[in-house]
């Protein structure tokens, strides 16, 4: 998903879930921050680099694709953008490595989603925002995996956009090109995607790169053949999926705010009902960016205009804080939430017998083994137990 949904739509959802405008602003800030919190940013902040929730384009270009590099890539993208649906799925074919990759395919309403939302409970607005980012992405990025894999994430020229024609819905062939500088042409169904690379673990085969930005456009409806689907066609209805994501975010945030348990496959259809027509008009409007529309809707919902997203907004607070107090700053709480989420997902993947995200070690059992950055989680847990 893009900033229009992660930032502005989340602001609307948080408002409908009962949060005050400032709280909603904090939540949606962290939702959008998940797409920008890279190793580069964390290095600038002298923050733990293991808390990275994304990798920028030039970081991906320099990322090694040896086993350690692949595990690092998988940890980030599976934890924050392609949450696995079923870690015990059986593809019915292929060896262990293929099965491991198949089990990382993202879909909404998986068991890990419940764990993600519950992990954010009582951890502040920053954790809530991060959880909402992950929840929303499970809808947009479904059928792709957060690991570089040709046999899972590849697509071919069987790619059709379903548009409204004079006689009803019609299929228009999509033409992909590899020019990231050019804007997607919505009228001609010409979109940019990643270059085809026949190497299994090439970074171009990560996530939905082969489908371009189509999963991130709320208006897009399309049919294609995922590599894992064995020539079965997948029809993606983004307006419907985004509407489900929105209503599920409202439900999830209401659960977190009102201390109710979160359950998958449940949505808050009633609260957004009064705004449904306006939301649908935004979701189905063919435009590359819906920020302005969502921003206007958010202002009408909350009665307060959301400030534009500023990546530098909380950095000085983090830099000025003493070392032992950084975890209590705005970014510090986001970093802790990111570390906890990555740790949880990596642990789930590892304990399912899947080594694609690397090895997960419990500090409390094994002492000092493991990545130093995650010691913060153990210290945080000790502080919370002491309270």
């Amino acid at each position: 998903m893009q900033k229009d949904f992660h930032y502005y739509a989340t602001y609307c959802a948080a408002t409908l879930a009962g949060y005050a405008p400032q709280e909603s602003a904090d939540i949606c800030y962290c939702d959008q921050l998940a797409d920008l919190c890279s190793v580069t940013l964390l290095t600038k902040l002298h923050a733990p680099r293991s808390a990275a929730t994304t990798q920028l384009a030039f970081e991906m270009a320099n990322a090694p694709t040896d086993i350690i590099g692949l595990q690092d890539i998988t940890r980030i993208w599976s934890s924050f953008h392609f949450l696995p649906y079923d870690l015990h799925a059986d593809p019915g074919k292929g060896g262990r490595l293929y099965r491991s990759k198949y089990q990382l395919i993202c879909k909404p309403n998986g068991a890990l989603l419940k764990d993600t939302v519950e992990l954010a409970r009582g951890k502040g607005l920053q954790a809530t925002g991060l959880a909402m980012h992950i929840l929303a992405d499970t809808w947009a990025h479904q059928y792709f995996a957060g690991t570089p894999s040709l046999v899972i994430n590849n697509t071919n020229d069987y790619f059709y956009e379903i548009v409204d024609g004079p006689d009803g819905p019609m299929r228009r062939p999509i033409k992909f090109r590899h020019n990231p500088a050019a804007k997607d042409d919505l009228d001609q169904s010409v979109y940019t995607n990643s270059v085809y690379q026949p190497t299994e673990n090439a970074v171009m085969n990560l996530g939905h790169g082969r489908a371009g930005h189509l999963p991130d456009y709320s208006f897009a409806r399309y049919a294609y053949l995922p590599a894992w689907a064995d020539y079965d066609e997948v029809v993606k209805d983004n307006p419907s999926d985004y509407w489900h994501a929105f209503c599920q975010m409202v439900y999830a945030m209401r659960c977190l705010r009102e201390s109710e348990p979160f359950e998958t496959h449940r949505y808050d259809w009633e609260t957004p009902e009064a705004w449904k027509d306006e939301i649908w008009s935004i979701l189905t409007k063919r435009q590359l960016d819906s920020c302005d529309d969502w921003e206007a809707l958010g202002e009408r919902m909350a009665g307060e205009r959301l400030r534009p997203f500023d990546l530098d907004a909380h950095q000085q607070e983090y830099l000025d804080a003493p070392e032992d107090a950084r975890d209590d700053t705005f970014l510090g709480r986001f970093i802790l939430a990111a570390l906890a989420q990555k740790s949880m997902v990596t642990n789930r993947i590892f304990t399912s017998g899947n080594l694609l995200a690397g090895i997960s070690i419990d500090f409390r059992k094994h002492g000092l083994m493991g990545i130093k950055d995650f010691f913060r989680l153990a210290r945080q847990a000790s502080r919370e137990m002491g309270k």
């Binding site: 020539y231 029809v235 649908w280 008009s281």
Partner: protein
């Protein structure tokens, strides 16, 4: 505001499972035809160049070749038939081989174009499958017939590489025939 139209989600419970499987099988056959159709051209080019080079240079490296005239070219060949047969007969054999190669070239281009067209969903008669069968049969037979000659004049590396590539080209032709036949059965063409 009108509700958005319903779009089928994958998998769709309303579509019979048999239809879903047949649709994916049709796509699989079309994809196979697309790949095989292109591969045939690649392997054809390989066989054409191999035949021409073998007939012209024999076992000599082209950079070592130094022929002043057309007769010298054949006189310098380390071709085993030279010296045993009349030069004119060798020339006739060479011409026949080249003519057959050209015929095979056009036949394979026809098969490839029809396969690629059918992979795009266009209607094509089943004639190209028959031609593909004939080409496959001739290629396999010819390979078996020249095998003793090849074994006597070629190094083990040449034999291995050539055999692997030839077998692969036969497999691609066979795959094309199988996919084309199955596709016609699934889509009801020719019935």
């Amino acid at each position: 505001m009108a509700q958005p139209k319903h779009f089928k989600r994958q998998p769709d419970a309303k579509m019979p499972a048999k239809d879903l499987r047949e649709s994916s099988e049709v796509r699989r056959c079309r994809n196979t035809l697309s790949i095989s159709g292109r591969a045939i051209l690649v392997f054809l080019a390989w066989r054409f160049v191999k035949s021409a080079m073998l007939s012209t240079f024999g076992q000599r490296n082209p950079q070592d070749f130094d022929a002043a005239s057309f007769e010298d070219m054949f006189a310098n060949l380390s071709y085993p038939l030279v010296g045993k047969l009349d030069l004119k007969l060798v020339l006739a054999i060479f011409i026949i081989v080249m003519i057959y190669s050209f015929i095979e070239l056009f036949l394979c281009i026809y098969v490839s174009r029809c396969a690629l067209a059918q992979s795009r969903g266009e209607d094509r008669s089943g004639l190209y499958l028959l031609v593909a069968c004939v080409v496959l049969a001739i290629d396999v037979t010819a390979s078996l017939m020249v095998m003793p000659l090849v074994l006597s004049i070629s190094s083990i590396e040449d034999i291995l590489v050539s055999t692997i590539i030839d077998l692969t080209s036969f497999a691609m032709l066979f795959d094309l025939i199988r996919a084309g036949t199955k596709l016609r059965r699934l889509t009801g063409e020719g019935t």
